[in-house]
């Protein structure tokens, strides 16, 4: 004689049973899909972070090589009729200069240092960025040092090189910030 459990089973599954089964299967598969998507997302973030790092590095290298000459560049920027001497922040945060740094082009570009409307002789060579990148900009802060006598009475500046990109056209904007320290005598 067949046990009563099987007798009951032969009648088929109730709606509630099916719902519970589907819910359990969903519980198992849902996190798996989520995990896969997260892994993909992280891979893409790493990829764009790597590219951002290279774009920032070329700016950092050029700025660091110019650092010993910032005084000469600032002297050129100074208006002879004015008493005010521009600072490195004024130079790097100049609107016209930043517009050139931000410019998205398919070819290499020259971003000339500018102060006010005056274009200076020194410039940065910038490479074209991958199409997903939307912005390349700088932000400069003065660093107040208590040990300026040890550091040779220099003025120190923290320059943040900021890059922004979108992985997908209508997706959220991602960004990375690469700080460097510059000193000018």
């Amino acid at each position: 004689m067949m046990p009563s459990f099987f007798l009951h089973r032969i009648r088929g599954f109730s709606m509630a049973e099916i719902m519970v089964a589907v819910f359990i299967v969903g519980l198992i598969i849902g996190p798996l899909v989520l995990l896969l998507n997260q892994s993909t997302q992280k891979t893409n973030v790493s990829m764009y972070l790597f590219l951002a790092m290279h774009y920032a590095d070329e700016i950092a290298q050029q700025l660091q090589r110019m650092a010993p000459h910032f005084d000469q560049i600032l002297a050129e920027a100074k208006d002879p009729t004015s008493q005010t001497t521009p600072t490195l922040r004024d130079l790097l945060m100049d609107g016209n200069f930043l517009n050139e740094v931000k410019k998205l082009d398919n070819n290499f570009t020259l971003a000339f240092f500018q102060f006010g409307a005056k274009k200076l002789q020194a410039c940065l060579m910038l490479s074209p960025m991958d199409g997903h990148f939307k912005t390349r900009t700088l932000d400069v802060y003065p660093l107040v040092s208590q040990t300026s006598s040890i550091l040779g009475q220099k003025n120190f500046w923290k320059v943040n090189i900021i890059l922004e990109w979108k992985e997908i056209q209508n997706g959220p904007t991602q960004s990375a910030l690469f700080p460097i320290i510059l000193g000018n005598p």
Binding site: L36, T43, E58, R65, H69, I73, Q121, A122
Partner: protein, 204 residues
């Protein structure tokens, strides 16, 4: 009663069940398939970027120590008054850096017909030993370099801003992603070029 219940499933029941299972399986498969494809593509691109990073690290080191830069053509000179990078520039396929650490050339290496190739770093180090290294095997689709001298001034001091521009196209290494290419450009600056170094005024 038991005999009656053991009739089995009817054909419509089986069709409905198979349809439902197929729909569920297709949805799950679509999710996984797109997820796996994105992961594979991302991983492949990361591998390309890693290959490029390794190459750039060596180039950066060699250009930093270079006292002489030679390419197939003369350097592109951009005058003091020019403020645009020319569009119609012919890039070089090979560049050689000579410095205290040795002589090192970078060029696109030949590979078997129909295959992607690599960047070859070859030359002699300071001890006179031959150097022969391959980068990005077999991902390098194209490798172009350009030595640029931008004439300018630091204040009133004439200055030659030397830089080496790199343009690379990297192919995917995965046969499932035949059209996936990574375009990459970079600017490298030298440290020790006499007379035209960024740190010392040009001799003119």
């Amino acid at each position: 009663m038991i005999a009656k219940k053991r009739q089995g499933f009817t054909f419509p029941e089986i069709v409905i069940v198979v349809s439902l299972v197929s729909m569920i399986m297709l949805t799950i498969f679509a999710f996984f398939s797109s997820g796996v494809r994105s992961t594979v593509k991302g991983k492949d691109r990361l591998d390309s970027i890693r290959a490029m990073t390794l190459l750039l690290a060596d180039m950066k080191k060699d250009i930093a120590n270079a006292e002489k830069i030679e390419a197939e053509n003369l350097p592109l000179q951009i005058g003091e008054t020019e403020d645009l990078f020319p569009d119609d520039v012919v890039y070089d396929r090979k560049v050689t850096f000579t410095g205290k650490d040795g002589i090192f050339s970078y060029s696109q290496g030949a590979a078997a017909k129909g295959e992607s190739s690599f960047v070859l770093r070859s030359g002699k180090n300071a001890r006179g030993e031959d150097v022969y290294e391959k980068f990005g095997v077999p991902r390098i689709n194209s490798f172009e370099v350009l030595h640029v001298i931008k004439k300018g001034k630091f204040g009133s001091l004439p200055q030659d801003f030397n830089q080496v521009l790199i343009k690379m196209v990297l192919d995917s290494n995965d046969p499932r992603l035949p059209e996936d290419k990574l375009y990459f450009t970079h600017v490298l600056v030298p440290n020790r070029l006499p007379g035209s170094d960024w740190s010392s005024p040009a001799e003119n």
